[in-house]
Amino acid sequence: MLLSKTLRSSTLKLAFIYVLVFSSGVFALLGYVYWSTASYLYERSDQLLNIERESMDDAYRKTGRDGIIALIGRRSGDNFFSDWVYLLTTPTYQYVAGNLGTWPRALHPEPEWTTLVTLHPEPANTGAVLRAASRVLPDGSHLLIGRKIEDLHGLLEKIVTVLAWGAGLFLILAAAAGISTSRRSVARIEAINATSLKIMRAGLGERIPLRGTDDEWDGVARNLNSMLDRIEELMESVRQVSDNVAHDLRTPLTRMRGRLEKGCNQRLGVSQYQSLLNDTIIELDEILSRFSSILRISQIEMRNQQAGFHDIDLAQIAREVVELFDPSAEEKGALLQLLANEGVPVFGDRDLLFDALSNLVDNAIKHGGDNNAVMIEVRRGASGPVVTVADHGPGIPADERKNVLKRFYRLEHSRNSPGSGLGLSLVAAVANLHGAQIEIADNAPGLRIELRFPPPEKAAHQRSLQALAPSP
């Protein structure tokens, strides 16, 4: 099955194209190597022949036909000229001197030296391949000189064999590499496919395995995995919302229903009815506001990243929050202290940041205990803007700190004080949207919550991304 997929895959087609392109390149290269080697060897051999032609001509000029016979005689005794052939014949091709038996039929001598030709063996002769030239001497005799080029041919043949083997090996290797690359890709795609199928069948728990090779495939797998993480997160938050709605809204609704039923069944006075209706409306309003808080948090969590963000001053927002909460703090006997000496620019949504900071300050005032001093600090931290809200209340035990960011989570000791348990999860949603980290720490005594925003350069990057995105 994998093989048929391999054959179908586009990667294999690509591999074939590569093999084709590379092999034509390699063949061209090998052909050139052969051609240049062969022509070099021939050239060397031909040069020697040309020199020998001149020696013959010289000998003839000095002493005529006898000079040539003498030269041929000398050459036959010379080891250096062992692979040379000579033939001197009468004008009617009768042998006069030399080490070649008969005149080759393919050779037609002319008054001047003929160009060099390659002569294939004739049974009557040496049986060797010759490179030869011939001429008619002024007295009518025919002269042939030549060289056996057997070994040159043998060398070239060897080169051809080597090149052919090399080319064959190259083709096999290239094909193997193409197929294995293609199979690897297909295997990765198969893995991704298999995981998708599993996810469709069983749920979002599955992840695509990484090979740790850090290549593009790992990149694709990683991105798909983080996409799955994000989807799972969103699904989880949807599930949480419905759980919370069921849990936290059903209780008061049941209570209200009971009250209305009681009102229906009992005969009450007008004023009693009035107060019953009033109470019901107040409670209903509470439920509605809680409901819209849940929706608001979900909306922030699912919101289009950074849409509607601007450059704003965190310090200014903190000043306005402190100003808004100053009367409330005074009423509770708490003191609000603001530490914000310089402008602290962030890229964000003013409404949301105001809301988040309001929640933190409101919590700090409410839970800060007696003689409470709430400190709100806004500063440019080393790695980005930081907002700190600290109080001197009971704080949050270390093992509870993770839970307080969840919706409707309320600490045991504050369960009976007013509040929806949604404040910190709103803060968490807003922080998350702004790429900020929440740190919940001990103020010894009290609670200290820090929002650490990403550095301005990163925000600037996000801003440029936003500028690139099409406006809604």
């Binding site: 409306i281 919101r303 100003e323 808004l324």
Partner: protein, 229 residues
């Protein structure tokens, strides 16, 4: 203010429409009802309304589209958008299309009335006074000075803005969300009672030791600044 102040209600849900009409008529408006966007467009073009309320989601032409088309045609009747959709992005979209105010369903009828009143007043009074007077209270918008019975009262800038908004809407109920929107330029519902406490502080500065109180709390809705008859 005198005479029939006509309001156009564009709302497709019959029961909600009934409640709206009932509530508006009780407060002295004369109300026309349109059950879909087409009808709403028709009516808004042909008659002179002080305010219209527009449901966000309507059969046929969408509420935002209705407002956009009216604005394109030059019909500037103030529009209060009523929507069951979420507030964050949708509010912006609604206001961008030319809506003047935005209210998320479900809402208290008095909150709706307060906003309609504010829009109706806005279309009626565009007076450029520099000194506003209510009873023995006098606020000088240029000098940023507040006096009661001639005695100057010290207010913080934000407190001054809040008082100015109450005075500009004298006699009208102003909700907490409206205050947050117009005084702080914030568009969300504070879940706590900060606004009450804040108004409380302004009230102490304005009303304590005076012959009669000016700032009144309207239970379940918000506040109203009013001099005795």
């Amino acid at each position: 203010m005198v005479g029939a102040r006509r309001i156009l209600v564009i709302e497709d849900d019959a029961e909600t429409a009934d409640q709206l009409v009932d509530c508006l008529q009780t407060s002295g408006f004369s109300v026309d009802l349109a059950a879909d966007g087409e009808d709403g467009l028709e009516r808004a073009r042909s008659a002179d309304y002080v305010v219209m309320t527009v449901d966000r989601m309507l059969p046929g032409i969408d509420g935002i589209e209705v407002i956009r088309r009216l604005r394109d045609e030059g019909v500037m009747t103030p529009a209060l958008i009523l929507s069951a959709l979420g507030e964050i992005d949708d509010r912006v979209r609604g206001l961008r299309a030319g809506g003047d105010d935005y209210l998320v369903k479900p809402f208290a009828s008095r909150e709706m009335l307060a906003r309609v009143d504010a829009l109706a007043r806005r279309s009626a009074t565009v007076v450029k006074e520099t000194i506003l007077r209510v009873g023995d209270l006098e606020i000088d918008l240029l000098m940023r000075i507040v006096r009661r019975r001639g005695r100057e009262i010290d207010l913080l800038p934000r407190e001054f803005q809040l008082l100015e908004y109450l005075v500009r809407n004298v006699g009208q109920v102003v909700s907490r969300a409206m205050l947050l929107q117009h005084v702080w330029d914030l568009h969300f519902d504070p879940s706590t009672n900060v606004i009450d406490v804040y108004v409380g502080r302004v009230r102490r500065k304005i009303d304590s030791g005076q012959a009669y109180p000016l700032i009144h709390t309207v239970r379940g809705v918000g506040f109203r600044l009013r001099a005795p008859e």
